[in-house]
């Protein structure tokens, strides 16, 4: 256990007395978030490669990942760059609120080695993080419109491109987007899911939009076919096998942009949810035998409540309403509601998007998103970064803008309240938001947010803990399971109730969150019981755990 000093519980922040004082203006409320990008020394600027030809890939942006690559306990930050030749960037967390650019030393710029022309020309898109070889160090997988790259973490601050050996490049013409590591067959080794978007070729680039100067627009995905995703099974020897077809996830109808994993039916194995753009979303139920069945129709999670497919972008899956079953949240196009599918616990979901108070998200075009407890009050809130895909959208619809503000929704008993204004100036800034990922980079018990914006500087938003309750961070160390315990289910019982959470860093859009599990505890200073069900099936119970600490939990050797 690693107890950290922590602010005293501040759950009284939301008390009626204080709210009343704020309303009278007696004491200004500090903003929830502060933009600390410059102070932290993060200078990354995304390059989109935007051209007059309006290649679609130019407007979909790139992601980012939190990765504690050197296991020093402080999450480091990796940004993916878009345009061919534009380097990705790895920032090492100096543990004092600042970061240092270590890209060159680490060898993760991902600009090709000059030998592989396809790699040099690739537009890089997404990223995920996981320890695929269980050596205790987190590795990186970068997707692209072009060959994808697997960087093995050498454990000495450097990485090696092992894509060819691992066999996970995909085809050179594939437009891969979001991706994630998960152990679908629970053999203790992380497998790899790669979402593919369109069957798109730069040399077949139709003119879209009005034929007037300045009106050319990025094409609509309807004009292209979808492309099947890929599932790579980890062979345990540094190589992977493409099992997409036999596993049942190779549906060419998909136009995938987002992926997340959760055990929606609580049968003990991870299922897959894919957010597709303009076609229905997929929910792949894990059959437990190495295959999946798309149950989107049965589970009612493919469409909006009118039966129409939406333009799915980012996605996350977690228990929002506290019924113990993970709900699914999907960001969508402008003038579409973001979708919140509430898990009924019987294998079906209910689309509650229109009734939970997220109307403010109707006009913006949502991309990266995360369900996390920004105020540590014990329930999951929603953060969305927005930005249109059409740079000249104003010419077509005067009520829309290219750059847009983030949205922060506070969970209030299963409904949501727009808390963006309370976020402070950092959330008022307009950006062409794409990737979003969450980690507590300064280990102060409040989850912070990094955002990658199209063609703009990235931002690091520090959560000041203005309303913070108590919390716990669990760092899982698997033995029989994968080393970081991805896929474990954690039940946290406090005096305020039960939270059921899963360790999963794959969500949002093109991005990866910190691999550790963070939970807000509200006023509870002690956790009565933590029950962890590891991917191996091992079950572990911890009693009377003090709040406000980073808890290292090792998987027990044997099943109880």
């Amino acid at each position: 256990m690693t107890p950290l000093t922590r602010l005293a519980a501040t759950a009284c922040v939301l008390s009626p007395v204080l709210l009343s004082a704020q309303a009278r203006g007696n004491k200004p409320t500090p903003p929830l978030f502060v933009d600390v990008t410059a102070k932290a020394g993060i200078t990354f600027v995304h390059k989109s490669g935007a051209s007059a030809d309006k290649f679609m890939v130019e407007t979909f942006g790139s992601g980012l990942a939190w990765i504690d690559y050197d296991n020093d306990g402080f999450p480091d930050l990796y940004f993916v760059n878009g345009a061919p030749g534009a380097p990705n960037a790895l920032y090492h967390n100096n543990k004092d609120g600042t970061f240092a650019d270590v890209t060159e030393r680490a060898g993760v710029a991902a600009i090709g080695n000059g030998k592989d022309a396809q790699a040099v020309k690739a537009n890089k898109t997404g990223v995920t993080v996981g320890d695929y070889d269980n050596d205790g160090y987190l590795d990186l997988y970068v997707t692209a419109f072009g060959p994808n790259i697997l960087f093995h973490n050498n454990g000495d601050g450097t990485f090696s491109d092992v894509t060819a050996k691992a066999g996970v490049a995909g085809r050179p013409n594939e437009w891969s987007t979001s991706t994630g590591f998960f152990d679908y067959d629970r053999d203790g080794r992380l497998d790899l899911y790669v979402v593919n978007y369109l069957d798109y070729r730069l040399d077949e680039n139709p003119y879209c939009g009005l034929k007037k100067d300045g009106y050319r627009m990025y094409c609509h995905p309807t004009q292209f076919d979808g492309m099947a995703d890929r599932l790579f099974h980890n062979n345990g020897n540094g190589t992977f096998t493409d099992v997409s077809k036999q596993a049942g996830i190779a549906n060419p109808a998909g136009k995938g942009l987002g992926v997340t994993f959760c055990d929606y039916d609580r049968d003990g194995d991870p299922d897959i949810y894919i957010a597709n753009d303009t076609v229905r979303n997929f929910l792949y139920r894990n059959n437990g035998d190495g295959t999946f069945t798309d149950v989107a129709y049965a589970a009612v999670v493919g469409f909006d409540s009118n039966g129409k497919p939406q333009a799915g972008m980012g996605v996350d899956c977690a228990d929002i309403d506290g019924n113990g079953y993970p709900d699914i949240f999907v960001t969508n196009f402008s003038e579409e509601l973001n979708a919140l599918y509430q898990n009924r616990g019987d294998g079906t979901f209910e689309d509650v998007s229109a009734t939970v108070g997220m109307g403010a998200a109707f006009l913006p075009l949502g991309f990266g998103t995360k369900l996390y407890d920004f105020d540590n009050d014990g329930d999951l809130d929603i953060h969305i970064t927005n930005g249109h895909v059409i740079d000249n959208v104003k010419l077509y619809q005067t009520n829309l803008t290219y750059a847009q503000k983030d949205l922060l929704f506070e969970n209030v008993g299963g409904k949501f309240r727009d808390a963006t204004a309370a976020g402070g100036p950092a959330l008022q800034a307009e950006r062409v938001g794409r990737g979003l990922a969450v980690a507590d980079f300064d280990n102060d018990g409040n989850l912070d947010v990094a955002i990658s914006s199209l063609g703009q500087r990235a931002v690091l938003l520090r959560n000041q803990g203005a309303r913070s309750g108590n919390w716990i961070t669990i760092r899982a160390k698997g033995k029989k399971s994968n080393t970081f315990g991805l896929g474990a289910t954690v039940k946290i019982q406090t005096s305020e109730g039960l939270q059921v959470r899963e360790l999963n860093n794959a969500s949002s859009y093109l991005s990866a969150n910190d691999v550790h599990l963070h939970a807000g505890l509200g006023t509870a200073r002690t956790i009565q019981q933590i029950e962890i069900t590891w991917p191996s099936g091992a079950r572990q119970v911890l009693k009377d755990v003090p709040a406000n600490q980073i808890l290292l939990v090792e998987e027990p050797s044997e099943k109880p």
């Binding site: 009005l210 094409c219 004009q223 549906n251 109808a253 076609v279 149950v295 049965a298 059409i390």
Partner: protein, 381 residues
């Protein structure tokens, strides 16, 4: 080239069901056959979709229920693709493609799915992809006249017009009553400049009273081209009765009226021919933009003929906003500006018209030059 439209979907399905019995009677996975209620529901949906008045929304709901029980039912995916297509909205088009592609992924031999998919691709102007699907369908069902006819139309859209005619004649040899074969052949012959033969083919289709506005539009267009304006008015008027909302029919009808000198009637048709913009920003705009262009070009010509030069210029400017380099539109607006005495503007557009292969007449060009020269020498325009 006349843009073809989905001509055959519903009437054809009956024929296809007969031709491809194994699919229609269920090549779906065993789970499908073992569940009688599912089979019954599929039968009901199939019957409805192939009826004269399909209830697409109900069919979609029923098929989703089937797929909830059996996500791998090939037939349900195909029928759902058809139902989505039948809804006719841009936003469901991608979903129609998705369902049909999923059916093909599950069973690559399901030729009807490829056929329907090809027709959606054709509607989207993606003829190369349509060709791939139709060739694969013909491998499964060699000599199928419907598939051959559609492949013929695909070749026409790919500008392989002679090959198109060859394929279409083969299809009609196999089935002389195949209306879509005659329709596509009419379009192909028209492209080849064989107007009389094209008329004969299209007249057969219209006289069969198949209730397809596309055939009326095509025949009316051919009549206009052949200066048979009375016939054009007659057939296009019939077409507008079949589908009063079709802007392209009314624009073509206006052209016929204008050519007959019935300018008020022409203008009235154009007033009714307001293309509906797709509510979705994400729509391709292509078809809407083309209709807008056609509408404003025709309106400009009507206004020119009525001597309403300012209104003509306004309409033609709108046409040019959609396609600034269009030869004829530049030609016409240059004429308007010439008549208005705006020689500089006339000269600019005359230049663009010439560049696009639609030069003004020698007389008009001389008049513009004279006007510019006079202006230069101080004579007021």
């Amino acid at each position: 080239m006349i843009r073809s439209r989905l001509f055959v979907i519903v009437p054809l399905v009956v024929a296809l069901s007969a031709v491809l019995g194994p699919w229609a009677s269920g090549q779906a996975p065993a789970a499908d056959r073992s569940k009688a209620p599912v089979e019954e529901r599929l039968n009901r949906v199939r019957a409805d979709l192939f009826s004269a008045t399909p209830r697409f929304a109900d069919d979609v709901a029923a098929l989703k229920d089937v797929l909830a029980e059996n996500p791998k039912s090939v037939e349900a995916h195909v029928l759902l693709g058809l139902a989505y297509r039948g809804l006719g909205t841009q936003e469901m088009l991608a979903e129609a493609i998705a369902e049909l592609r999923q059916a093909i992924e599950i069973d690559p031999g399901v030729a009807p799915a490829r056929f329907y998919l090809a027709h959606i691709y054709l509607d989207m102007g993606r003829a190369a992809r349509a060709k791939e699907e139709l060739e694969a369908a013909l491998e499964k069902a060699p000599g199928n006249p419907q598939f051959m006819a559609s492949l013929g139309e695909t070749e026409r859209q790919l500008k392989n017009t002679r090959k198109a005619v060859e394929l279409l004649r083969q299809a009609l040899q196999a089935d002389p009553s195949l209306l879509e074969g005659h329709y596509y052949l009419g379009l192909a012959l028209f492209d080849l400049g064989q107007t009389t033969d094209a008329m004969k083919e299209l007249e057969q289709v219209v006289s069969a009273n198949a209730g397809r506005p596309e055939a009326y539009l095509a025949l009316g267009t051919v009549y206009n081209q052949a200066s048979r304006f009375d016939d054009a008015v007659k057939v296009l008027s019939q077409g507008t009765k079949l589908d009063p909302a079709r802007a392209d029919l009314r624009i073509q009808l206006a052209r016929a009226y204008r050519s007959k000198g019935l300018l008020e009637r022409a203008e009235a048709e154009l007033m009714r021919a307001q293309p509906k913009a797709d509510a979705s920003l994400a729509a391709s705009y292509v078809e809407h933009q083309q209709l807008e262009f056609d509408l404003h070009l025709e309106l400009g010509l009507v206004k020119m003929k009525r001597g309403q030069l300012a209104a003509a210029a306004d309409a033609l400017k709108k046409a040019l906003a959609a396609d600034p380099a269009h030869g004829l539109a530049n030609n016409y607006i240059a004429q308007v500006y010439l008549r208005q005495g705006q020689f500089k503007l006339a000269s600019e557009h005359a230049g663009r018209a010439a560049k696009a292969g639609a030069p003004l007449s020698e007389n008009d060009r001389k008049s513009i030059d004279a006007g510019l020269a006079a202006k230069k020498s101080g004579v007021r325009e």
